[in-house]
């Protein structure tokens, strides 16, 4: 189990109150949300260096309130393709295989692994995650230079931490 860290580098985009909850120290450090404004408020971004995670891995997480089928939730892999914010990094991504069910912060959904061709032309591994509660989504995407299974394992462990779970739950409540 990887220890969880958070350096409060601040510089977070957006002003939602939920952004005040920050995970504690470890191998992960919080970085500024690296993407331009889009239809959703900015989320939180974290980086784990190669020394701690084997390869450098980044995770981006945010709620998307009112963006989910209230009854069926995250129904299929196509929905993960659509909503999981992979397109923030690059429009060019190819799934490696069918996705799997997942549970994050006690919310059910799906995850899927991808080959992601970055704008620089470098190939990265990425994992898209979309979970839902009622009509709301929480999405996370992890990307790194290592193998997809490793990126997935590291990202899921990070998201399963108590601090992240607490923050994600609060974010879905609009806090």
């Amino acid at each position: 189990m990887i220890a969880i860290a958070a350096l409060t580098l601040g510089a977070l985009s957006g002003g939602a109150a939920y952004e005040n909850a920050r995970p504690r120290t470890g191998v992960w450090r919080e970085i500024a949300w690296p993407f331009p404004r889009d239809g959703w408020p900015a989320g939180r971004a974290f980086r784990c260096g190669a020394a701690s995670c084997g390869d450098e891995i980044e995770v981006y997480v945010r709620p998307k309130i009112g963006f989910c089928n209230c009854d069926s939730g995250v129904a299929d892999d196509d929905e993960v393709d659509r909503v999981a914010d992979l397109d923030l990094m690059s429009p060019r991504f190819v799934p490696l295989k069918a996705g799997d069910v997942v549970r994050v912060a006690d919310m059910p959904g799906r995850l899927r692994s991808y080959d992601l061709k970055m704008p620089t032309g470098v190939q990265h591994a990425a994992v898209g995650i979309a979970v839902s509660r009622r009509c709301d989504l929480l999405v996370a995407v992890a990307q790194g230079t290592g193998e997809a299974p490793r990126v997935q394992q590291v990202a899921l462990e990070f998201l399963a931490s108590a601090d992240m779970t607490r923050w994600m739950t609060a974010a879905m409540d609009g806090r």
Partner: protein, 481 residues
């Protein structure tokens, strides 16, 4: 003298403040409707079913309103139909509005079991058999969605006794269709099982409603089966100008990442049909991107509008205009404002947004009233009585808004009507510290007009249908007697 004037001013201000305060408070049962230049003519409770699309049809010597419904609510998933005494999943209400002061509820056709967006039969369009190239001239055809899984066609020649003709099934997320009565071409909004988007277009020939013929699937490159990478924004609904106008205006992105796609109708129908990226691009003329903060629910075309201000210009006296209506999704202003936009698409490969309209929030403290505040949809009738002159915008808890659009560069609100809530009006909730906090407010969801000049508004929160007419300066602006 001066003292009297001061007292008069004080009293005037007091009355104004009191009236404004009353206007700003949450709605209560028994309070009168709020209105300006619009008057209530008649109502029907629609069996307290959450309402989406109304379509008003002149049928022989009668006027019939067909209203699509969302699925039921958590509290009442299958309201009881008083005519049958049975609990029925929300479907389609059929109401005789020949006398708009005394609407008569004729029939409820049950829809798909399921709550909210997952059930019911939201969409409804009507064509006379005599107008369809291969229709039964004695029939009147109702095209509706069946929940999210199918499209259905019914014969409603006798509106009290509809007969199912056909069903196109095996779909998902069916929604806001368009049907050309003169050709039978239908642009059905569906989710085809193998496409990567929730909603795209299936073009059908429904000229013989008993024998639907599929023409093609259509969407944006990246949505088609087998594609990879980013998936473009999903469709909400199209409106076609038919063979004469030869354009279809598609609205994408209900409340986010919206854009209007202008499509050559002839190329769409007769062009190569295999859903390859090149074939999907072939009929597209242009796109008008909106802010990522807004989406396109309704794209209402008004080709060849004469613009009075430009009357003496040697070129550009008339303009092709598209009115774009966003849909507010979240309760109590939980998202960027969704509103109305006007685009000048005269030069089709350089469409440009020219104006916008929203209800001023402070005019009713609408962010605090409960439920959604923002636009949802417009009337879609192109009957001459209002076409290119007045537009009616459903604005959820701000009711219906009448806009003078004769100069679309400067649209102007000339009237409004916010119905009273009733015991049937459903609550709307937001989450505060993990708990639901609910309020009851009107949620005017959709609107349609008829050729006589009546305005029909329906409520998402189960308050039924209100039939209105313009009065005062709004009536004069529309050129009505």
């Amino acid at each position: 003298m001066g003292g009297r004037v001061n007292w008069a001013v004080f009293l005037s201000i007091s009355v104004f403040v009191f009236a404004s305060g009353a206007h700003a408070q949450s709605q209560v049962i028994g309070a009168p409707p709020e209105a300006s230049n619009m008057k209530l003519v008649g109502t029907n409770d629609l069996q307290a079913r959450s309402a989406y699309q109304p379509t008003i049809h002149h049928q022989g010597d009668r006027w019939i309103a067909y209203i699509g419904h969302h699925g039921g609510s958590d509290d009442n998933p299958d309201p009881v139909n008083p005519q049958t005494g049975k609990a029925e999943p929300n479907g389609t209400s059929i109401v005789d509005v020949t006398d708009p002061a005394q609407p008569k509820y004729l029939r409820h056709i049950p829809g798909q079991e399921g709550k909210y967006e997952s059930g019911g039969a939201q969409m409804v369009r009507i064509c006379d058999g005599k107008d369809l190239p291969k229709g039964d001239p004695n029939a009147v055809y109702l095209l509706r969605t069946f929940g999210s899984e199918a499209h259905e066609i019914w014969n409603v020649a006798d509106p009290a006794n509809p007969v199912l003709i056909t069903r196109i099934a095996g779909l998902k997320d069916t929604h806001k269709n368009w049907w050309e009565c003169s050709t039978g071409i239908a642009f059905l909004v569906s989710g085809a099982p193998d496409w990567r988007t929730r909603r795209m277009t299936q073009v059908y020939d429904l000229s013989d409603p008993a024998h639907p013929t599929k023409i093609r699937d259509f969407g944006l490159p990246g949505q088609e089966p087998g594609s990879t990478g980013a998936v473009p924004t999903e469709l909400h609904g199209p409106i076609s100008t038919g063979p004469a106008g030869n354009r279809v205006y598609f609205g994408y992105g209900t409340n986010k990442g919206g854009f209007v796609q202008i499509v050559d109708r002839d190329k769409l129908i007769n062009g190569p049909k295999e859903p390859t990226p090149d074939n999907l691009r072939y009929p597209e003329i242009s796109r008008l991107a909106m802010s990522a903060l807004n989406g396109a629910h309704t794209t209402f075309p008004m080709q060849g509008m004469p613009i009075a201000e430009f009357a003496r210009d040697k070129d550009g006296k008339t303009r092709d205009i598209v009115m774009i209506v966003d849909e507010a999704i979240l309760n109590e202003c939980g998202e960027p404002r969704q509103m109305v936009w006007f685009a000048d698409v005269t030069v089709e490969n350089r469409p440009m947004m020219i104006s916008s309209y929203t209800v001023p929030e402070a005019s009713g403290n609408f962010c605090e009233r409960g439920g959604r505040f923002g636009s949802h949809s417009s009337n879609e009738s192109m009957a001459p009585v209002f076409y290119k002159k007045m537009a009616f915008i459903a604005f959820f808890n701000a009711g219906i808004r009448a806009l003078d659009i004769r100069d679309p560069y400067h649209p102007k609100e000339v009237g409004y009507f916010i119905p009273s809530i009733t015991a049937a009006t459903d609550k709307r909730c937001v989450t505060i510290d993990g708990k639901d906090r609910c309020k009851v407010a009107i949620q005017t969801n959709n609107v349609e007009t008829d050729a006589r000049g009546y305005i029909y508004i329906v409520d998402r929160a189960n308050t039924g249908m209100h039939i209105l007419e313009l009065t005062g300066t709004a009536r004069a602006a529309a050129g009505l007697p």
